[in-house]
């Protein structure tokens, strides 16, 4: 991968960004900055304003108020030349071949065909895209398609990459491989801005911003978010298969129990120190002190009081 020789500015700076559509405020006075080489996670409920923010940062949408600097520039044209954007669904044309997609994307960027092919060879190598170039995109498995989409998004060597749910529907091993690519891109100096509904992926981000109703309600490292959201003791409970169905309700009723929520086959419990919840557990329940997951953090912060 070609490492861009850019001066050491923050990759993204946002000051009091507001985007309104008519009388609806999609993004409501947010400020943050992202440093070069960072993996920055962007989480929030559907409709919280994540995609609108990304579109503003890519220069696709003019902010109502506020100032943004992306890859060292506030000029929309310059920004567009320095960012790559991989949206969830519409990045590649299903009825074009892999090569046609690459050429199309490169020519839109006004790159010469010779340069496009040269870049694509490097990127295919980087991303591990080994399918024949004349394969129709619709015949590629989801994981391979995403590798191609990432290569196309990197074609013009952008310094900031926006990935909107890049791994939705991708098999576990391909998801793993994709995150390895993200890691390698950032160690080569790229900045990655990523949204995801997979909380295990959010764990891999350097910092995570949580959006609700157009505002950023928390921004920290995954560990920092967990400490702030759950200062109290936190446990994982595994009830035996034969436990009575109403046991969670009984535990929730114990004074000092703040939350008990299902986590796959297990339960996560947050309770004040000294709360007597252990007495209410079914016999044979395994309890273990664990850190909360980012899903717990998400549920508490996004559902919690403003």
């Amino acid at each position: 991968m070609v490492s861009p020789n850019l001066p050491n500015f923050p990759a993204v700076e946002v000051e009091r960004l507001t985007v309104r559509f008519g009388d609806f405020t999609a993004v409501d006075d947010i400020s943050f900055s992202v440093s070069r080489g960072e993996i920055f996670g962007f989480l929030g409920a559907n409709g919280a304003g994540k995609t609108t923010t990304i579109r503003a940062l890519c220069g696709l949408l003019v902010p109502t108020e506020g100032r943004i600097v992306v890859a060292g520039s506030s000029d929309v044209r310059t920004i567009k030349g320095r960012v790559g954007y991989m949206s969830q669904r519409f990045t590649l044309y299903d009825d074009l071949t892999a090569e046609e997609n690459v050429l199309f994307a490169g020519r839109l960027r006004r790159m010469e065909d010779r340069r496009i092919r040269e870049r694509f060879r490097e990127l295919a190598d980087f991303a591990g895209f080994h399918s024949p170039p004349n394969t129709l995109v619709r015949d590629l498995p989801a994981g391979i398609k995403q590798k191609l989409a990432l290569s196309v998004c990197l074609l013009h060597d952008p310094s900031v990459i926006f990935l909107d749910e890049p791994t939705a529907g991708v098999a576990p091993d391909a998801r793993e491989a994709f995150w390895e690519l993200i890691r390698r891109a950032t160690s080569a100096g790229k900045t990655v801005f990523v949204t995801t509904h997979y909380m295990d992926e959010a764990e891999r981000c350097g910092r995570v911003a949580l959006m609700r109703d157009g505002r950023i309600i928390a921004l920290d490292s995954p560990e920092g978010l967990k400490r702030a959201a759950f200062p109290e003791p936190f446990f994982e409970l595994t009830a035996p298969a034969e436990a009575p169905e109403d046991w969670p309700a009984r535990v929730r009723a114990v004074p000092g129990v703040h939350s008990l929520s299902p986590h796959g086959l297990r339960y996560h419990l947050a309770a004040a120190a000294g709360a007597r919840w252990e007495d209410a557990l079914p016999a044979g329940t395994i309890r273990k002190a664990v850190p909360p997951s980012l899903e717990d953090v998400f549920l508490r912060l996004v559902e919690g009081p403003s």
Binding site: G44, N46, A168, P172, Y198, D200, L265, F298
Partner: protein, 251 residues
Amino acid sequence: MRGVSLEVRDARKKLGSVPALDGLSTSFESGFLHGVIGPDGAGKTTLLRHLIGLLHLDSGAIRFLAEGREIPFDELRPFLGYMPQRQSLYADLTVSEHLDFFRDLHRVPAPAYREKRARLLHMTRLEAFQDRRAGHLSGGMYKKLGLMCALLSSPEVLFLDEPTNGVDPISRREFWELLHDLSSETLVVMTTAYMDEAERCGRVHLLDRGRFLASGEPRQLLEREGVPDFDALFRRLSKFGDTILISPSVK
């Protein structure tokens, strides 16, 4: 017609030159929430389209059973509900107008409709959004509207194609609670690409490249293979390609 179960035996289907269903066998017993789980391209949608009679197998069989006998598909048809994966609602109709439209489509009688409508709106917590157009709903609310439309005809068997795809963790959680409540009286078969959702199903059917890697109760499947989660289970089984079937324990 109560307690419908479904059996699939050696189902095969080629789409073009691709074996989309490559010798699938499993059973969907009544009384459970069934999850068909696999990545994009595994064959989830193709399987559902066969189960609801939109496509026909090249070979193999799909049998519906109820009240101790096999039910011919035509007899069962009015009792099936289906929520497709693609956005299939009308962007310019409101929540309320959608319910009225599907009432007419399914010929739901007026008194039953009033009661049903109130119950569905309450269950999905969409009472306050009745006048909002579908095009302006968030991803989670849109999926809930789709679910309500599929439930208006009171189906005995409900097929949902990726109802939680692209839905945030809170809405996903709510959706799962809805499905759990439904599955006590309806056979629910849903598909998802999120492996972590496997643990929330009563029965899991892990699908990869047109074949089932495993079918059974989630806890038993994980214990039997000694893996911590379904990501790990999928990785392991996808590599070796043999199928594990665990017969359901008595509930």
